[in-house]
Point group: C2
Chain length 421, copies 2
């Protein structure tokens, strides 16, 4: 399938090249040519007039629990610990692998409406998650979530071997749920596994003040210090949330070359706090952006997250903090690197064709004074005209091309939650 | 023009009635009937199958400067005072009445995409603003913005008389720009005018800490105390922003029956602070929601504002603070009351047909566990399927019916900013 986009503005976001007006040719799932005028020898299956609208890399959702779509708006307005123990855990225990398959598809539909081309997904029944991604054509990094209620180092190691070579759309990262749900013997097994596989490691880190205090009480160390002392981050990796982080812990993040995945929508709604993103950037710690799960956020919308990433830092550090270009780097590039999808980060010849078309002919994008600021400060789902992943169009002008009927997926999601005790 | 909506979920938001499934009939610009099945004798011009989607009152944007669309993304990442003096004022000085007319139309297009059916607009060239609203069919309350750089009590009084009876779509509220832009002689004239007309009064109030400190330095009183001591709020009214407000000033807001218009997007982006909305609600002070101008926010999206209204309070007061139902009351009802559009607040027989159709058959609205929470926590512009004002459809499935060509409006807005020094 060869596709030519023409009459486009192209924002490469490759860290240097400016916006160009021209065309972009996709062949074999990758960008074959890009520029003012392109040479291409192959047969074109489709030519798309972009009408002067904007091609850019897709947004990367670097932390989510997609299967939690069934819990959207079921339990809100509760703090994290009560929300987990009273609402989330009892209902999750009733899910089947088939449920997680269809609930993940529901999340993928929502990602597509928001221009998201990749998810870094931590949830159980990972075979179902991978299958939902492969069947729809979506790109997914899976991460283990072993904890005292299920999972082991052995299972994680087995998954790493299996999922890493399953499909080009799938990657796998070592990880576990969180320090506060995992007791010492399992932690020790997982730390040994990291030393044996020599791979980056990802987990929920320092999301709430209570969780850090609890770690200090039993270990004498804050969470990042404690896990680092066990060698978890010897090969890098990253932390989801990283809201309550000391200066010493920031040094560890720097030293280990770790990525922080900030989830401002979830941290706001669950009253967990504001992550020190401004400090991370000053120290050169890469920051990626995640929505967290749809039960805590409650939506899977990178536009909302992008505004919050900069807005909350401005509230704490002044209106100059964290400009639009920095936010786009976080949203498009850093999430790809965290997942090992290094060739999905930007628009350049040879890169994966994971791209979106942003409709600029909408009132919130006019006048066209500054495209990057328009996207970060005024952009919304309504501007997403097309989403392509690995050269395949999955969403175009409000229609989904994912090999399944959205209405069937909605009906199934409603059936699943209605059937629960 | 008589319109029948059927196969709809209807959320009246009248303060009591629950959601019903049924139909709603509009005649003569008002709701003629509503319920499971409706009797209607007249001829129906159009019947709309809502496909199970949601009819609800339109959102009210209770503070904006619509004409500032030309400055979107021109100057960002600056604190309020530098942003005003270095960027905004010099460019605004170059605007003509024709410019404000077309720039207001651009804002109206954007309101429609966000389900907004009314604006409370403070900007200059108010004849142009009123004309833009009337020509497009949009509902607008105008408010005077006299200050040391232009305007007077006499002009404000003349406008009050003229705009109050201009058109059913238009209302007018007494007001001025802000204490910090207005010196004593003009303040005194305006205060005398309030006593003579005995009308509610609206102005920017306590937006930044610096502005309140400056008022204390020259008057010995904080801004709300100072203006109240001059009698400005003897007949009620309200304040835009109200971010930095003392307990004594909250008592004044209560005593005078004033409305607070909170603008969390603008306050966040300009680093002005977080308004104490949680305290206002505890004291029974009505809160409405505004976007502020598109140069400070930078978008005119009530969905973003609704999430921020509750999210920022949760960050400060815990996850239980300010639930979804309270936010919808602010967004749909309180803004209408502030502008004197008392019959545009909710869906009920006899009320103005200012309503929107929310597309629930989108992934961010599924499963349908709780419609109100879905709208506040997961809703986006993408869910706005139709907007009707005074019985006339202005926006439907992405198309505008405003008697003008959006492409022409975009071109004009670009021409205006490009032509400026």
């Amino acid at each position: 399938m060869n596709t030519r986009f023409y009459n486009a503005r192209i924002l490469p976001l490759d860290g240097g090249a400016p916006m160009v007006s021209g065309e972009l040719i996709v062949s074999g799932g990758r960008i074959a040519a890009m520029g003012e005028h392109c040479e291409f020898d192959g047969r074109l299956d489709r030519e798309i007039d972009c009408g002067g609208n904007l091609l850019m890399p897709g947004f990367k959702n670097a932390h989510t629990h997609s299967g939690m779509t069934f819990l959207r708006s079921v339990a809100d307005d509760l703090p994290l610990q009560r929300w987990l123990t009273e609402q989330v855990f009892p209902k999750e225990a009733q899910l089947t692998p088939d449920d997680v398959y269809v609930l993940t598809k529901l999340a993928i539909l929502e990602y597509l409406t928001s221009g998201v081309t990749m998810m870094f997904d931590m949830y159980f029944y990972r075979d179902s998650i991978a299958q939902a991604a492969i069947d729809t054509g979506f790109r997914a990094a899976l991460v283990g979530c072993a904890n005292d209620y299920g999972g082991s180092a052995k299972e994680t190691e087995e998954e790493y071997a299996r999922f890493s070579k399953l499909n080009p759309l799938i990657s796998y990262r070592l990880g576990f749920h969180a320090e506060y749900t995992t007791s010492y013997p399992l932690l020790k097994d997982l730390a040994d596994m990291v030393q044996s596989l020599r791979q980056p490691f990802y987990t929920h880190l320092n999301e709430t003040a209570a969780e850090v205090e609890s770690c200090v009480r039993h270990s004498g160390m804050r969470t990042i210090e404690y896990l680092d002392s066990m060698g978890f981050f010897d090969y890098g990796g990253g932390g989801y949330h990283c809201v309550h982080v000391s200066a010493r812990e920031m040094e560890i993040l720097q030293l280990r070359g770790m990525t922080v995945v900030t989830c401002p929508g979830s941290n706001t709604k669950l009253a967990s706090g504001v992550a020190p993103v401004y400090e991370y950037l000053k120290r050169g710690i890469p920051v990626a952006i995640g929505t967290d799960g749809p039960a805590s956020n409650n939506c899977l919308d990178l536009f909302r997250e992008m505004f919050l990433v900069t807005g909350l830092q401005k509230l704490n550090h002044g209106a100059e903090a964290v400009d639009a270009a920095e936010v786009l780097t976080m949203a498009c590039r850093n999430g790809a690197y965290a997942c090992g999808f290094d060739d999905c980060d930007c628009l350049a010849v040879g890169k994966q064709a994971d791209l979106i078309l942003i409709d600029l002919r909408q009132p919130n994008m006019q006048p066209l004074n500054n495209v990057e600021k328009n996207i970060v400060y005024s952009g919304s789902k309504q501007n997403v005209a097309l989403v392509m992943i690995a050269g395949k169009i999955l969403y175009e002008r409000g229609e989904f091309f994912i090999g399944d009927d959205p209405e069937r997926i909605y009906a199934e999601a409603n059936r699943i939650i209605r059937g629960m005790k």
